[in-house]
Structures are given as structure tokens and as C-alpha cells.
Symmetry: C2
Subunit: 354 residues, 2 copies
């Protein structure tokens, strides 16, 4: 039985992608060589990198608009550093909406003055602050679109002349947005677009090269752009699986299609959380994430019964992050609607049985 | 027909490793979940990371000697930066033996004064400089053990009280050495120990924490050590395949066994280069790499004939790096002796046929 995989990331990937990836590890491109034992400068792999880069821009509607797509290493945590290294001359502003936003702020503080325009920390990050002013004398404004741990998501992004930088690690490619509002987007692949080990960076070229700091080559976006994301050996397998995942998304109908499915999944779980007297949601309703639904039992003595039912139904990865507790249903692009239905069925069964 | 894969890296991996890796992408640990869709904090993956780290120390004979093994991202190029960031207070010395040593020097120059103790650049890096003095007032001395592009290899490492840092990307786990001579060893996985996408760092803890510079978390060896190489989501698949490759090596008999095979492979190709009047070696004889044999045709008009014979024999990846030209036979741990024999057979056939 295939498991209902609600893991928060690394997370479920499309079955067809897993099958192609598994095959490529044995024999890629019918060359009788594994994907992971060929040169990254070989034509078959250059075609993979090229396609992965162009698909990302195409799906986001950012082709021919001055953006470049890069597949780098080091995760979003490396981007916390690279963003500051490349863009922060004197002062930048951050919106503190959770653990990862906070880590991004910490790393940037080594490079300039950081203004926290607002924070929901005192409310355990259960909402998205909306009333804040973006200073006019800053190099960029940084936001985190979706907060995996807390289950909150920014629904409306600010319109500003200041370069807008967004960590979209946990909701990129999940919903329609005017992506051209952003000047730099980054996302660890391991939620909506592939396995752990590569990070997509989408950057508007015109914002680069404006600071006086010497940037080490390996951290310099301009260097990576000039080398077409092949400054050094790229993470071959993660890039390939990301390409397959983006192909899968494109074939389904791209972001407009998946957004509809994602909204259905989110409606299903949140309706049940609100209806079922045994459960209570964690995040403020208007800020609820379509990707990660955080909730808990009202009566904690039902914990053991609930978890037995989850196990019987083949539901995996539902534990909440230790800083929130309770449960978290992560419903990334590849999670089918029927997996959410299976979870809702268990919640209803618990209501019946107690 | 399986190809004879002489690729310089990413390169050939053991067939049994490829088969296990392919299977794990479909169903890992018999949990009906793919390796790449489970949490990196799950017990099955924590066991992988733990084993990959301990196997590396065990195979190098560095257990319980104050060393830590880390699997990081960003390749050796990221280590060029991290070494300087973590260890360079004022001054360091480097031995310039090739393109990668040179890149390491460039990156370090942003952080302090760099002394090049010697360089073979004026001789197209075809030998290893041996007469040099290591300054006494430096933070560390950096060497590159094997120069993939030029086919040279350090046979004897200096004995010094200065912390010794070594880029072993292209010959780690290939030969017996007193690894405790080194204070920091790093190696991109994609030659002798796995696929592209992770970098092994072996570091003696006592050399860390001695500089005044603020180190960004993601670049700080101490942070990675304190988080047991899980500061952020690690590159799951590359780490797993590295673990499998180290298990394979251990089962064969470890470094002592593979060194014997590697020496046989190297003797076979170099004897043919020296015997066959059609070929000439590139590197100085005493510095010839056991991993990468660089050579060329004496008479370039035979190029087309030679390459036709190579193709017919299923020999792949033999093109030399553009900065050297000619041919390069990369003979990493997983390349079987019979593949080198197949290459020697082609060289002899060319001699017969012309």
C-alpha cells in the first residue's frame, strides 16, 4: 500500500517522477550509463540543466523579462547569506513571520543594518503582520511567503519600488501570483519541486552588481549567471529530478491547474478542522496556508486513539513541528486530493468513536 | 554493453551501488516511500547520515582522534571559501599545482595575505613543485593532493607543525596515507565516493574557533559539527549514495585493497604510454597521478583512427581537459582493471593498424 505522505519536506513527489528518476540512476538517456556517472559537461546533462532553468521561468511567467534561473546548492539557509552578500550595502528590511524568516534576519545582520518592519513572534507566529511601513532607504525588503512550521501564508504581497526578495521554499509553483513583483525569489527544491540538494534562485539581473563589497565567486549570483548555473559541478541528480517535477507540473496544466487542486485540498482539511469539535486550528483563519495546515486535538487524551487511526489508514508525516506541537498536514503539489480525504475520514472516524 | 567509463568526474560508480540507489528512489527501507520523499529527520535517514559520517572516519583511520566528518553542499569550490573564512586570520600559504589550487588561492585572497610557496604554472602544471619553504607565521598550509586536469599527484606530503589543509577531491579513499598528518581534508563526492551534490569535510576540531572574524552560520564548521551535519536539510540522495559507495569500499577491503587495484590500473596504462611509440605522457614521471593519466598522440593525424577504435571498444569519457588537450584516462576506485585493459588493447591495435 502506498503511504499517504504528509511529510513537511523533503516530501511527496509524483510517482511518475520517482519512476523516471529511479530508471535514470541505472541507465540515463539510453546511453548505458547512469545519470550520476556522466560528466556534468556532457550534452545530455547540459540539456537537463537548460530545460530545468527554462521551465522554471516559463511556469512562473517570467520568460524574457530580465530574470535568470539558477540551481544552486546549500538550501534556503545559504540564500539567507547570499541575499545579504549580494544586495545589502547598508540597510535592508525583513518581515519576521517565523523561524526561517528569523534565521534569514540573523544571517543578514552580519552585513548591514536590519530593520524588522513587523513580527508575529509574540503570538507564536500564528498570523501574518499586515500593518507595517517599508522604509524608503533600504536595499531590499525580504519576506517569507509561506511559513511551513506555523502554517501561515502571505496572501497579499506589498507593492513597492524597493527590490522585493522572497523565500518561497514551501509554496513556489503552488499558486498564481504576479511573480514579476519580485526581484529575487529563492526556494529549496525539497517541497514543491524536487528532492533535497538544490535551491532554485530566480533573480532579476538589473538588481545585481550595485554594492561595493567584494563577493566570493561561489556566493556571487553574477558569477553563477555568467556560467549558466554551471560555475562548478552542479548537484546533478537533484537538478534532474527538479526538471522532471516541473515537466510533470507543466503537463498537468501548470500553476493554474495545480492551484485549483491545492485550494480543494486546503478547503477539505480546513472545513473539517472548523466543523469537527475535536479539532482546533493553530493559524489565524485569514492567514491559513494552503500548503501546511496546523491543528491540534481539543482533548489531548484522544491523542493515542487518533494516532492509531492515522497509522491504520497509512497516513504518515503528520506530526507538528516541535515548536508548535499538535499536527501539521503538509499538502504540497504532489499530494493527491484522496490523501487529504483519507485524513478527513480519520478525523471523522475519531469523532464517531472517540 | 556496459560502457568503459573513463569520465573525469562525475564518474563511474560501482554497479551494485547504482542498483541499490535506483531501488531506494522507489522504495527505501521497505517503508513504501522513496528515499527522496521522507523527512531528513526521520530515523531511517538519520541512520544513513550517521553511517556515512562514521564510515568516512573509519576508512581513513581517523576514528577517536579528534576529527569530525561532515557532508556539506557547494562542492570543493565552497570549501575554497569556507577554509579561508574559518581558518585565515592574517596569512596562509598555498602550493599552486593546478587550476583548482589556483581557484582556492583566488578565493582565499579576499580574507588575508596568501603566500604561494611554489607554482608549476609556467610548466603548464605538468609537475609537482617539491623545493619550497613553509613559512612559520601562517594560519595553515593548503595543498591539492591530485590534479585531475593535469594528471599529477603529490606522493609525499610535508611534515609540519602548521595546520595542513588538503583538497583531496580526486583521490580521497584511493591510497594509503597517514591521514592524521592533515588537519582538514575536503573532497567533492563525485570522483571516488559518490554522485555530485555533496562534499565530505574531515576536520580536526582543535583547529577551529581560533579566529576573530564573524563567520556566517551556514559557512561555520563549528555550527555544522554541533548539528551533526544536519544544520539544514542535507542533500539526501548524494549522502545516501556516498554511504553506499563507502560501504562497497569497506566490504572490498578498504583503502589497502583498492590501492593495490589502483596501482595495477595505473601501471597498465603508464607502461603502455611509455612503451607504445604512438603515445606520449603529459605529466612528469615521478609525479604521475594514479587516478588520472594524461597523454597524447605523437602524430596527431592518427586522431580520427584512434577515436574510431575507442568508440568501437565502448570507451567513453577519454577526452582531455581543454587546457591540456589530448587524452585523460580517469581511473577512479570504481573503474575495473578490465576497462584499462580495453583501453590498452585499443592503443596496441592503433600501433598495429596505424
Amino acid at each position: 500500500m502506498k503511504v499517504h505522505n504528509f511529510s513537511a519536506g523533503p516530501c511527496i513527489l509524483p510517482q511518475s517522477v520517482l519512476e523516471q528518476a529511479s530508471q535514470a540512476v541505472l541507465n540515463f538517456n539510453n546511453d548505458n550509463l547512469s545519470l550520476i556517472e556522466i560528466s556534468h559537461r556532457s550534452k545530455p546533462f547540459l540539456a537537463v540543466m537548460d530545460k530545468a532553468r527554462s521551465l522554471a521561468l516559463e511556469l512562473l511567467g517570467l520568460e524574457n523579462k530580465g530574470y535568470q534561473a539558477l540551481y544552486l546548492q546549500g538550501g534556503a539557509s545559504m540564500q539567507f547569506l547570499m541575499v545579504a552578500y549580494n544586495l545589502l550595502e547598508k540597510k535592508a528590511a525583513y518581515l519576521d513571520t517565523g523561524t526561517w524568516a528569523n534565521n534569514a534576519i540573523k544571517e543578514a545582520k552580519n552585513f548591514g543594518q536590519i530593520v524588522e518592519v513587523a513580527s508575529s513572534k509574540s503570538n507564536k507566529y500564528n498570523y501574518i503582520p499586515k500593518k507595517y511601513t517599508i522604509p524608503s532607504d533600504i536595499n531590499y525588503f525580504h519576506v517569507t511567503s509561506n511559513n511551513t512550521i506555523f502554517g501561515t501564508q502571505i496572501k497579499k504581497f506589498p507593492t513597492t519600488d524597493i527590490p522585493l526578495v522572497c523565500d518561497m521554499s514551501s509554496d513556489i509553483f503552488s499558486r498564481k501570483l504576479d511573480f514579476s513583483k519580485f526581484d529575487l525569489i529563492y526556494a529549496g527544491a525539497q517541497k514543491n519541486m524536487g528532492p533535497a540538494g538544490t535551491t532554485l534562485v530566480i533573480v532579476k539581473e538589473e538588481i545585481l552588481g550595485k554594492i561595493s563589497r567584494v563577493i566570493p565567486s561561489i556566493l556571487d549570483y553574477k558569477v553563477h549567471i555568467s556560467k549558466e548555473s554551471m560555475y562548478n559541478t552542479p548537484p546533478v541528480f537533484p537538478v534532474y529530478v527538479s526538471m522532471l517535477t516541473l515537466e510533470w507540473l507543466k503537463d498537468l496544466g501548470g500553476i493554474p491547474f495545480i492551484e485549483t487542486v491545492n485550494n480543494q485540498k486546503a478547503a477539505l482539511i480546513y472545513d473539517e478542522i472548523d466543523r469537527n469539535p475535536l479539532f482546533v486550528g493553530f493559524a489565524a483563519k485569514e492567514d491559513r496556508s494552503v500548503m501546511n495546515a496546523t491543528f491540534n486535538l481539543v482533548d489531548k487524551t484522544l491523542k493515542s486513539n487518533f494516532e492509531t487511526l492515522l497509522k491504520e489508514a497509512g497516513i504518515s508525516g503528520l506530526n507538528g513541528h516541535r515548536s508548535v506541537g499538535g499536527y501539521r498536514a503538509s499538502m504540497y503539489n504532489a499530494l493527491p486530493l484522496y490523501s487529504v480525504q483519507a485524513l478527513v475520514d480519520v478525523m471523522q472516524e475519531l469523532e464517531l468513536r472517540g
